[in-house]
Amino acid sequence: MIGFILTGHGQFANGLKSAIDMVAGDQPAFEIVPFEGSAAASYGDDLRAAITAMRAECEGVIVFVDLLGGTPFNQSMMIAGDIDNVEIVTGTNLPMLIELLLTRSGASGLADLAEQAVGVGQAGVTHKSLASLADDAEDDFDEDGI
């Protein structure tokens, strides 16, 4: 199993986790580490402890962060320098996590899974309009069947 840590500014991680709970239910090997102003001093240590504990349980860990270049990202990168088999993914979104939580058990490797996260996350960002909806509405009907 590859473990997941979700971290970000303010209540980002808590909020995303509550959305995942609603759509996909409670998930094993999935922890959040919020980065809040009130606990900023201990954030680095808290994140390191969470990643270390997850790494002890799992063959590898992906840390999902909200923002490239933000403190959660910077801290995660430094921690990943000290612990092997820890990958960082930025720009985390709900489609990315929903898909990865489903596919991680069959993943071929940690880096592949992180790459898949990027692809799924990007694919989840779209622009839709009612006009384009109607255009896409064609559905393939088999010759037999319903």
Partner: protein, 160 residues
């Protein structure tokens, strides 16, 4: 004629949405989501939104209850069907119409006036309970479960 390959039937107020599209469908391995609902069968807007929610490679159909009853026997054996309906009454109509439904997953039945909350995401009134009882008496297996990773809740809660 071979019996249609109905993997699961789910009762869900919201029909095809996040839980159904991302969790249930892949867990049961369906390649066709059949929404059996009179209102949606005539509402292109809602159909288009639900088509967008369906996973890639999974077909969608939006049939009225009567059309579902009329056409289900023509399903191809290759069609692995996930039926989604809005209410237990609709499922009962399907079963009475001859749709071979063996198992019903009870997902979301929203709370509203006159209903009582009996499980985490399930609220019922007397008419719902009567429909469930009739389904059970016809040999249909009932299961209360929100998403595949959450535990099954006791079906007796429906009849308490």
């Amino acid at each position: 004629m071979a019996e249609p390959n109905i993997l699961l039937t789910r009762i869900d107020n919201r029909l095809i949405h996040g839980q159904v599209a991302t969790q249930w469908n892949s867990t049961i391995g369906a390649n066709l989501i059949l929404v059996a609902n009179d209102e949606v069968s005539e509402n292109t807007m809602r159909q288009n939104l639900m088509k967008m929610a369906a996973p890639a490679g999974v077909a969608t159909r939006f049939f009225s209850l009567q059309k579902t009853i009329d056409i289900i026997g023509k399903a191809s054996p290759k069609q692995k069907i996930f039926i989604v309906a809005e209410t237990p009454q609709d499922v009962l109509t399907l079963v009475k119409g001859g749709v071979p439904i063996k198992k019903v997953n009870i997902g979301n039945m929203h709370m509203s006036d006159g209903k009582r909350q009996v499980a985490t995401t399930v609220a019922v009134d007397d008419a719902d309970v009567a429909a469930f009882r009739e389904l059970q008496e016809m040999g249909v297996e009932l299961e209360i479960r929100r998403v595949p990773s959450t535990p099954v809740e006791d079906t007796d809660k429906l009849f308490a």
